[in-house]
């Protein structure tokens, strides 16, 4: 139990550092930006209490907000994503459901499942994020493409990273 807690705390810190130090400094053609810290919400165990799920999503969003000087933008998007997670999981649930003790990983449920799960939640998160950030529908399509391209980039990075981090 303590070991798990430490593991997720470690992920929390590493993902925030990676986001702030590495991924915030990558920007392709000026306005496509990957937000990889959402991986934290994706990797939480299936049986996590819903209160903890929402709370930790809010916390990671708030920390990112604090460092990027964007009050509420990342936390709102992360909380919405955490709220949607159980529904998305139910949508892509395998026939026998998620067995206790399993974790949302490619090695357990396969690449196809992980891609669907990741892309769906990342799209939701990024579209919320980018529209909350501009707070206007003025440049609707410009924002739309920024959100879409960034989602593709983030999902790609997250899926590829799985092969490096959770190697068998």
């Amino acid at each position: 139990m303590i070991k798990d807690l430490l593991k997720y705390l470690f992920q929390f810190v590493i993902l925030i550092l990676a986001q702030l130090l590495v991924f915030n400094n990558i920007e392709l053609s000026g306005y496509i930006n990957p937000y990889v810290y959402v991986l934290f919400i994706l990797l939480l165990p299936f049986q996590i209490p819903k209160v903890v799920l929402l709370g930790s999503a809010f916390l990671i969003g708030l920390v990112i907000d604090l460092f990027m000087g964007t009050p509420g933008v990342h936390s709102s998007a992360s909380v919405l994503m955490a709220f949607a997670r159980p529904r998305v999981l139910a949508l892509f649930s395998p026939r026998e459901g998620y067995q206790p003790g399993t974790l949302p990983r490619i090695s357990e449920f396969g690449l196809e499942w992980f891609v669907k799960y990741t892309v769906m939640l990342v799209l939701l998160h990024h579209f919320t994020l980018f529209y909350l950030e501009v707070l206007t529908l003025h440049h609707f399509f410009a924002t739309f493409f920024r959100a879409l391209l960034s989602s593709i980039l983030t999902s790609g990075i997250l899926i590829i990273s799985q092969y490096f981090v959770f190697r068998k």
């Binding site: 907000d65 460092f67 964007t70 009050p71």
Partner: protein, 274 residues
């Protein structure tokens, strides 16, 4: 009571979600400007401290580039020195006196945090109130304008970047003096848009855009960029795409400009507009 409890237990996820999301959105839309400023100050003192370490590393890596820029700037300043002009009247020298009061003073500061990938981009400088930086001061780089100081803490200053949706500066075309507001359009950090130039004005790509000096923040004649493209909007006014001369991806050292005439101009204008 029992039904209420059952309701709460059944929908605790939704209720909790609504609570937290409302709080986040409250942060976003902010009840009042005071809380907003507090958030920014806290955020900047936190990220300022960490960013300074990262910047040290980046600094080292960009030494060559910085050296080149400084050398170029030195050359430009040498050209302005009295010694590089022929003296027409041999015995006159310039002295600061009450006939020629100092109008601007420049403070060098280092950029410790910078972003270009958001819609509302800010920079953080490593100097603040204790170094004499105040809100509303102009910030320029060696290549062109950078932004306007928005808020200051004791040791850091937060600057509204020119690539921020909220940024506007009065700009003019250098060769004929026509002026209009220049804004960033939120897409590409290399371009901004100048509007309100009447259609009879002759312009072409490559013309230099400089600050007009109106508004009292930026001194007159600072380089903003060059015209890269323009078209008529609504038949009467040009919408001009301006390539910014500052590369916001590579900002390192900037100058903060204090305008001594600012308060006087402000109070005069306030009095006469009423």
């Amino acid at each position: 009571m029992r039904n209420l409890m059952r309701f709460l237990v059944k929908y605790h996820f939704l209720i909790l979600f609504l609570l937290i999301e409302t709080f986040s959105l409250f942060l976003l839309f902010r009840a009042n400007p005071y809380q907003k400023v507090r958030f920014y100050n806290y955020s900047h003192s936190l990220s300022g401290r960490i960013s300074i370490r990262i910047e040290n590393i980046k600094d080292y890596l960009s030494l060559r580039n910085e050296n080149r820029k400084l050398a170029e700037e030195n050359a430009r300043l040498y050209n302005r020195l009295g010694s590089s002009f022929t003296k027409v009247i041999g015995d006159s020298i310039y002295m600061g006196d009450s006939l020629h009061p100092r109008k601007y003073i420049y403070l060098t500061a280092k950029v410790v945090n910078n972003s270009i990938n958001k819609q509302y981009n800010y920079l953080t400088l490593d100097k603040g109130r204790l170094s004499g930086i105040r809100p509303e001061m102009a910030v320029i780089g060696s290549e062109g304008i950078v932004g306007i100081v928005k808020s200051v803490s004791d040791k850091y200053a937060s600057v509204l970047s020119a690539v921020n949706r909220d940024f506007t500066v009065s700009a003019k075309i250098r060769k004929n003096g026509y002026f209009g507001p220049l804004k960033w359009n939120g897409n590409n950090p290399e371009y901004a848009t100048l509007v309100d130039i009447p259609h009879h004005v002759k312009i072409e790509s490559g013309d230099t855009i400089v600050t007009s000096g109106f508004g009292g923040v930026f001194p007159e004649g600072y380089r903003i960029g060059i015209i890269s493209d323009f078209r008529l909007k609504g038949g009467n006014y040009y919408e001009i795409k301006v390539k910014l001369s500052t590369d916001f991806r590579k900002l390192n050292y900037v100058q903060v400009i204090r305008n001594f005439a600012r308060t006087e101009i402000d109070s005069l204008e306030k009095a006469s507009y009423r």
